[in-house]
Structures are given as C-alpha cells and as structure tokens.
C-alpha cells in the first residue's frame, strides 16, 4: 500500500508530526493509530546517555565519590594535625605553669591518663622555696581560691613574695626557684598516688585547692590480696 492511500497516513499532518517530535502531544491526544508511536517516542526521549546512567524516576543512592572520600580524609588529617599541635602546646603552657588552676589540673589528669610525664604536684602548685613559705603570715590562708589564683598568676604582684625585688635589682624568684624539670627525666609520681594520702599543704597565698583524688588514680590493691574476703568475711576457725 502506498503511503498516500493508507488511511493512517492521512491521520497525520505535517504540523502534528512536528509537534509529536517536539514532545508536545501526549499519548491520549495522539491521532488515531499513532498512540504506540507517540508512546515509543516518549520512551525514547528518556533514554539515558549511557547504559549505566539512571533514568528519571529511579532512586539511586549516590556512592561515595573519590572526591568526597578525599575531602573526608583531608578533614581527618587536619583534625589530627590540629590535635597534635594543640596537645604539646597546651602541655608546654602547663609546664610553664601559666594556666588557670582548673585547666592545669584537668590537663595534668589528662596527661596522667595518657602516660605523659608531668612536673610534681608540689612543684607545680608551689614553686616558691620553703623558706619563703615559712615567712608568710598564716592569715593569708583564709583567702579564697580565686584570690590565690589571681595572686599566683601575677595580677597582684605585690602579694607574690617570689617576685619581690631584691636590693640587687634582680627578682627573688629568679634566685630561688628550682630549675624546671626536664621532660626527658621521669617525673615523680603524683603525691596522691604514692601512699594514698595527700601531701601536707603549707598555708601560703600560693596554695591551690587540691583536687579530690579520683578512684582511677588510687593505687590498686596487690593481686595476692583476696577481694572476696572483704565482702564476705570467712569464718575463723580457732584451734
């Protein structure tokens, strides 16, 4: 059958064919006999560029791209680098003993946990010599912890005897302070962990409030000691 005699051919004019190929005519509006062709062209228009490319209406979880993995790795590396820089810097500041008390004690605890050596508590808390401690009046011990802290940090230099200017012009602290302990030397254990009892505190303006001893810092009992006997005392047999 020639196209001219085909009734299907007469159902479609040039303008409608143009609109069908533009995608402007839906299947229900297609000329009679052209529904399948219009549906096929609509399907063809959704053809993806590649066989693996998802088509419209398909929900696909996007895989983690190499770029996003790289950015995650970079973020982790940056965080690790920041931590690696902050911890030694903070430890150095703690060694220099210029941190506030609360921060310093927290850092000391943290360093104990990690296993880093720290200066002895007494040295940290009380850098002045024993002779200077004895010369201080005991009335200063009634000061609050905040005041003693502010004295120690240098906000009131007149209250700190270690910074008294000597007649020679140099400061007493420079002459009497013990040399800072080296990091390479093993630090002595904290006072609270040696025998369980805190060291005697000299009542000076530099005295800092001692932190409560945490359960994790207490010495563990020897392994030979039977723990069961503490809870349930065994009956004693008299011979």
């Amino acid at each position: 059958m020639t196209p001219g005699r085909d009734p299907l051919f007469k159902m479609l004019d040039l303008a409608t064919a143009d609109r069908i190929l533009d995608g402007a005519i839906a299947v229900p509006d297609a000329p009679p006999g052209y529904e399948r062709a219009v549906a096929l062209l609509a399907t063809l228009a959704e053809l993806p560029a590649s066989p693996n490319q998802p088509v419209a209406g398909t929900v696909v979880t996007p895989p983690q791209t190499r770029r996003s993995m790289r950015s995650t790795r970079r973020r982790v590396a940056l965080i690790a680098m920041a931590v690696a820089m902050v911890i030694p810097a903070t430890a150095g500041v703690a060694y220099a003993n210029i941190l506030p008390d609360s921060v310093g004690h927290s850092l000391v605890h943290l360093m104990h946990r990690v296993g880093l050596p720290t200066p002895p508590d007494q040295e940290r808390n009380d850098p002045q010599p024993a002779a200077a401690k004895v010369s201080q009046p005991p009335a200063r011990t009634t000061r609050s912890a905040v005041e003693t802290t502010s004295n120690h940090t240098g906000t009131r230099p007149s209250a700190n005897p270690t910074e008294k200017t000597t007649s020679s012009g140099s400061t007493a602290a420079a002459d009497t302070d013990p040399p800072p302990s080296s990091i390479s030397q093993p630090a002595p254990p904290p006072a609270s962990t040696t025998d369980g009892a805190p060291l005697p505190v000299v009542p000076t303006p530099h005295t800092r409030p001692t932190l409560p001893v945490r359960a994790t810092d207490r010495p563990t009992p020897p392994a030979t000691e039977p723990r069961v006997s503490r809870r349930t005392p065994q009956p004693t047999t008299q011979t």
Binding site: P3, D6, L8, F9, L12, D13, L14, A17, D18, I20, L21, D22, G23, A26, V27, P28, G33, Y34, E35, R36, A37, A39, L40, L41, A42, T43, L44, A45, E46, L47, P48, A49, S50, P51, V55
Partner: protein, 186 residues
C-alpha cells in the same frame, strides 16, 4: 530577549573566547554541557561505537574551535554536525557488520492500555527507530534525542526545513504502521 537568555549568551561568549584561547577548563565546561545529549544521540545512531565517535567528535571540536563563530545554539549544531559526520565515517567501516538488533519481543506493546505506562524498554525503542531507513531514523534521533527543531535538523543534515518536515512525517507514519502491525500479529 529575556534577561536569563542574555546572561546565558554572555556566559557562552566568555566560554567560547576562553576555548579559542586554549583554555582547557572552558573546553571542559562546553563538554559537560553537551556531552550527555551528544552521547545519547550517538548511542542511538552508532551503538557500541558511540563513545569512540564522541571522543573523535570532541577532538575535532577542539581542533576547529578557533574557526567557529556564533552563539550557543550554533555551537550546539556545529558539534552535532561534526558528530554526524564522524558517525558516517564510522558506518563506512562497519556498515556491513551485522548488528545484534532483536525485534522479536514486543510483549510490552501487546496491550494498548499499557502504552502510556512507558512499559517499552528504552533500548528497544531505539531499536525500533533504527529499523527505519537511515535518513528517517537520523531525523527522529536528532529531533527526539538531541532536542533540535526541524530547522536546526535541516542545518545539520544540509536539507531544507520543509524537507525535514516531510521526512519526519514519513518516519512517524512508518513507525506507527510497523508498531500497529506488530500489535495485530500478537
């Protein structure tokens, strides 16, 4: 002209100037704009050779972009014209090679009620278009897959737009006739 189209045209002029100056990023941006549509068209007309033809097309575009002058639509037509010529080159090489196109399975087209549900496999739809004579199939692919109008297809295929309209009308008629015939035989 709307502000968006003016801005887009200005962006394209910048892109084209940079591409002519050898800026690889500008070529990359043009590639990202056109490649999905180009590859979709090439997959329909060149099958498994589509990737190679697309690569050859972009090599030609890069080599000749210095001589191109026009707006974005003209650039798009120019790229597809190059692609069409590369397809012709490829077809010369493997024209007689048998293609694995199967038309024996048309279960999805049995019921006319399901036609609108897009049950036809997309690849099979492309295969149905390939059954048409090559000049008709090419026009349908350029119209539907590449999104060109009749005038643009005429510029690409070097035919008058009126001829393109007649050919696309003929293509639709043949396609409808084949599909209806297949539906009647099942």
């Amino acid at each position: 002209m709307q502000y968006g189209s003016v801005q887009r045209e200005a962006e394209f002029r910048e892109l084209l100037a940079a591409a002519k100056a050898g800026d690889q990023q500008a070529i990359g941006r043009a590639y990202r704009r056109l490649q999905p549509t180009l590859l979709r068209y090439l997959r329909a007309v060149a099958g498994s050779e589509a990737e190679d033809v697309a690569s050859q097309t972009w090599l030609d575009v890069i080599a000749a972009v210095g001589r191109f002058d026009g707006d974005e639509e003209a650039f798009r037509r120019w790229v597809f014209t190059i692609a069409r010529r590369r397809v012709t080159d490829a077809q010369r090489r493997w024209w007689r090679r048998p293609r694995s196109v199967s038309f024996d399975s048309t279960e999805e087209m049995a019921s006319s009620d399901d036609i609108a549900a897009s049950a036809i496999d997309r690849q099979r739809a492309a295969d149905h278009i390939r059954r048409l004579p090559p000049d008709l199939a090419e026009i349908v692919f350029l119209r539907v897959l590449a999104g060109f109008g009749a005038e643009e297809v005429g510029l690409i295929t070097e035919r008058p737009a009126s001829t393109v309209r007649v050919l696309q009308h003929r293509a639709l008629h043949r396609l409808a006739r084949e599909l209806n015939r297949e539906a009647e035989t099942e």
